[in-house]
Symmetry: C2
Subunit: 361 residues, 2 copies
DNA sequence: CTGTTAGCGCATTCAA
DNA sequence: TTGAATGCGCTAACAG
């Protein structure tokens, strides 16, 4: 119906005509899948160049029923942790001639199955995902059944047989909580964003609780601050924490973004960070270094985690490598937001940064 | 290796058999492209549900030679500005049943043409891109010739006929520079990361220069800080700036990430921000609110820009809407890093935040 | 070494 | 209302 001179699409047939050979020969030259005479090869290459021909991935994929794309499902790009991981995935995928099909759930676990289905309908070669809850997850089970390779990032699945790249969330949070305890803090709370919809967050809480109990201190229930709520809401919640007589002197936050937000809200309330309250985060986002005082946190190799997850996809595609859970090393990074507990000292000097505690691995 | 029953791929043919009809009828039911008898329709729907059939996008696309994917090319996901824009694109694409094919150049302009080619080879429905230099860009010209819809984000092309979503970079930088001037600053420098490879950065410099000249002040050449260099390198460059007698009291940075880094380096040098030097950024990243002091900046609707760019892709696909450059509104947001010039006052109180200057539009 | 051809999954035209 | 047949761009099996 469109006129006859549409943007003349160049197919393998166009090239064949121009080079004076069959489409099979063109295909052979392009893919190096079989020997061809030098003359014909030269003519084909010339034709390809002149016409600017790029083989359609569509046709190519329809044969193999597999594309050179890898699907990605993450909660949100707005969190620099996920952005960094995706950056790592993209770089690694590109090195392998693949492209990312990117989707986000906006932290809505109900969207996970449909996004995965969408990506599977696109015949992705594999999937890298961060889900709300990896353990006993039916969507993942379905992928297992269909034999589609996938690797989790950040999730730390309890099911065996699931591939994942993560850190030991409990050990890491325990380590950073220990640092607070070592600095003389006794009343320490765990602050979580979206606790209910994040298995990572719960793991981290477990690490906090273990550290507290081991030290003979009381592990309190997590304080929940809605991720999406505004600063005023956070402030209200925080004010109630400090209303009672038995104020906390240390806050362990389930991630860095939350920690920065909490520290900001506390200062807005007129509380000194770290003079009156120490705040530690989790992840080690780049901006933590830039702010003043710098954010004390658990540094995790987020970009590398994305890269590694993508590597594992290809390892699975190549048939080797059974699905395994890889725990990458973390480092507790002391920072300006962590000081000795105010009860023990008047000056409350920040803790120096010697020889940071490293992960067991 | 898994049992003998290969992951039995379910195609439209499987469904047709199960429903006892032809594949054409199945197709009609699924797409609602023609009327079918209620009985047959019911059988088909049942079969689809039982088998968990999802039509392959591959086969579907091969017919139309167009996929339900949109290609994205950005410099890097690590910059929250691009991450936010991509988040906007993803949300809008999802609303329209499309998926993003995401690639990054790592700020290497030479990679732009090849990434675009890769995406075109995937038969994307359109492209959203941020390029190093939009004006007279041959890659974009090639897209025009092939009739593939594309929309630029952040770039502010000088060529007509190019679709783009951006802010008026010059006007915005002029406005924020004017704010510094109004605060009594006289010696103000423009600091850029990767000046050579970013037309946005150059536009912003123009705005700075115009503000300075208009105020009868001297516009200095841009100070270049390599984006990827470490803090120490930044520090060395900055120290040389303050070595001379005629020290700047205000720094206009070409983006927020750079501004935060600069402010951090200055403090590490023992300089008070904003007591001795005011620092302003550009973009309005979320973290700017969280840090203390808050970052003075130009707030731009980054997420919305991504959304809008995606909307424009679909408008072009639907045939309406000629390619246009849309400049979205910006707001100068004063913040804690901006104070009156130290020469004019001893106390150097931060400027209040009254009635922020808005964009002309 | 090269050409012909079948077929990947689907939408669609043409017959019935 | 339905089915049979065609073709989208490509790769690979088979002939020559």
């Amino acid at each position: 119906m469109e006129g006859h001179r549409l943007p003349r699409v160049i197919t393998i047939r166009t090239v064949a005509e121009r080079a004076g050979c069959s489409i099979a020969t063109v295909s052979r030259v392009i893919n190096g899948s079989a020997r061809t005479s030098p003359q014909v090869e030269a003519r084909v290459r010339a034709a390809v160049k002149e016409l600017g021909f790029r083989p359609s991935e569509l046709g190519r994929s329809l044969k193999s029923l597999r594309t050179r794309t890898v699907g990605v499902v993450i909660p949100s790009l707005t969190n620099p942790v996920f952005a960094a991981a995706v950056a790592g995935m993209e770089a690694e995928a590109r090195r392998r001639g693949h492209t990312l099909l990117l989707t986000a759930t906006d932290y809505d676990a109900l969207r996970e199955p449909e996004l995965v289905e969408t990506l599977v309908a696109q015949s992705v070669a594999g999937l890298v995902l961060t889900v709300s809850n990896a353990t006993g997850n039916p969507t993942l089970d379905a992928l297992d059944e269909e034999g589609i390779p996938y690797v989790l990032v950040f999730n730390e699945p309890e099911d065996s047989g699931r591939a994942a790249v993560c850190v030991d969330n409990a050990a890491a949070t325990r380590a950073v909580t220990d640092t607070l305890i070592a600095a003389g803090h006794r009343r320490i709370l765990f602050v979580a964003g979206r606790f209910a919809t994040s298995d990572r967050s719960r793991r981290r809480y477990d690490g906090y609780a273990l550290a507290m109990v081991t030290a003979g201190l009381s592990a309190e229930p997590p304080v929940e601050l809605d991720y999406l709520a505004d600063l005023d809401t956070h402030r209200a919640t925080l004010e109630s924490l400090f209303a009672s007589g038995d104020r906390p002197t240390g806050l362990v936050c389930s991630n860095d973004l939350l920690a920065l937000s909490v520290a900001g809200a506390l200062r807005a309330m007129g509380m000194g960070v770290p003079q009156e309250v120490s705040v530690v985060g989790f992840d080690g986002i780049a901006l933590g270094h830039m702010v003043q005082p710098t954010l004390a946190t658990v540094e995790t190799p987020t970009r590398r985690m994305g890269e590694r997850a993508m590597e594992m996809i290809f390892e699975q595609l190549e048939g080797q490598a059974p699905p395994t859970v890889e725990r990458l090393p973390f480092v507790v990074r002391p920072g300006g937001t962590l000081a000795r507990a105010p009860a023990l000292t008047d000056a409350a000097p920040p803790i120096p940064e010697p020889d940071p505690a490293t992960s067991p691995k």
